[in-house]
């Protein structure tokens, strides 16, 4: 498809053709499969780009109107720990409980919360796991591949796939140049 053809399809999709041009274009499309699939492909791409533009506006509106959401479960945990601390001061027995509380291994629910907290990018967060895995293999930019890897690990952690998440986070944490090397190291310490 050359530039002129591309522009013609674009003009059709943006309703910039006259009635006569539109009719002629649609007649041509009904007999030309290549043109029809080009229109479909451009339509699809434009829909995606429109959605990304709207998402950007939504995120900006959120930032303008409110602070970022905090995780309810985390807030609950913090409050439990505060009560535990108060109890330990009042009764020595409480101190033992607090040590146990801090040392116990986090469960799936806590890991889910930790993963949610790390998912700050709305675009990556809402991407299906398959698409993320495709990016980890096919993206030209190393940064995009690394970001997708990080989000695959977070998604696995979120969905209770503890062993897979741990293996991927370990791999990331052992790659010194990886953008999320430190994040992975910290998450491994906190969550497993």
């Amino acid at each position: 498809m050359n530039y002129e053809q591309f522009e013609r399809v674009e003009a059709y999709l943006e309703n910039r053709l006259s009635d006569a041009e539109r009719l002629s274009f649609e007649r041509e499309m009904s007999t030309n499969a290549e043109l029809k699939s080009e229109v479909k492909a451009q339509q699809k791409m434009r829909l995606g780009l429109r959605a990304l533009a709207i998402e950007k506006q939504i995120s900006e509106a959120r930032q303008r109107t409110q602070s970022s959401p905090k995780t309810t479960i985390l807030k609950k945990l913090n409050s439990i720990q505060s009560w535990g601390l108060a109890a330990s001061v009042a009764v020595m027995l409480g101190a033992g409980w607090l040590v146990w509380e801090n040392n116990k291994t986090p469960g799936d629910a806590e890991r889910r919360t930790m993963a949610e907290k790390e998912m700050t990018d709305v675009q990556y967060k809402s991407m299906p796991l398959d698409s993320l895995q495709n990016i980890t293999k096919n993206a030209e930019s190393a940064k995009a591949r690394e970001r997708a890897e990080w989000y695959v690990a977070l998604a696995q952690m979120h969905e209770g796939q503890k062993d897979k998440a741990k293996a991927l986070l370990t791999q990331i944490s052992k790659t010194p140049q990886h953008t999320y090397q430190q994040n992975a190291e910290e998450l491994l310490k906190k969550g497993f």
Binding site: G48, R62, P69, I73, V122
Partner: protein, 193 residues
């Protein structure tokens, strides 16, 4: 209508402003709906984070329908009520899929499985994910060009200034980058089939 109306605005003004992606209209929707929707989700087995997700998805579905003409303005329908309904459907759908797994009863008689509009909206999100993934695979300069042109809607002249190029070169580059993106979207599509 370039700026936020100084007095109370009508539903049609809000509709037009959302269509043109005016900041004040987006802010109004967020301020008006986000707290009440969060309250509703938290009373229907969800967390603050769940509410944020469902709100984002529902609002995106509504705005896409509005911009593509699938949602048409109706004087009798309050826009924020319609948006609330979109967001509510998203959360009820999430709840329904988790309820199916746990065999628990739904808090509402609504059945997302028979809501064809919602199912279409959800299918559309797959297309969006493919375009997003394709955009990530573009080289930095092309990605920048696409973002400037399609996401920020800058003119070729403005893009030329920002990227330090001649205006005539940006025209060709925009075409080349859009073609590359389209090929990557098609590739994503075939990978997902």
């Amino acid at each position: 209508m370039p700026d936020k109306p100084t007095s109370v605005f009508s539903q049609s003004e809000l509709y037009e402003a959302l269509k043109k992606r005016r900041d004040w209209a987006y802010d109004h929707v967020y301020t008006e709906l986000s707290p009440s929707f969060r309250y509703w989700v938290e009373r229907n087995s969800g967390s603050e984070m769940d509410a944020e997700d469902a709100f984002h998805k529902g609002l995106l579905n509504f705005l896409l329908n509005l911009e593509t003409g699938k949602y048409e303005f109706r004087e009798s329908a309050k826009i924020t009520t319609v948006i609330f309904d979109y967001c509510k459907k998203v959360w009820l759908n999430e709840l329904a899929s988790s309820r199916i797994k746990s065999r628990r009863a739904m808090p509402d008689a609504y059945d997302p499985a028979h809501d064809t509009d919602l199912q279409k909206d959800l299918e559309r999100s797959e297309t969006i994910a493919q375009v997003r993934a394709a955009l990530d695979q573009l080289k930095a300069d092309c990605r920048q060009m696409i973002e400037f042109f399609y996401l920020e809607e800058l003119s070729l002249k403005e893009i030329a200034e920002k990227m330090g190029m001649k205006e005539s070169s940006t025209k060709q580059k925009r075409y080349d980058c859009t073609e590359k993106l389209k090929q990557l979207v098609l590739k994503q599509d075939s990978l997902n089939r």
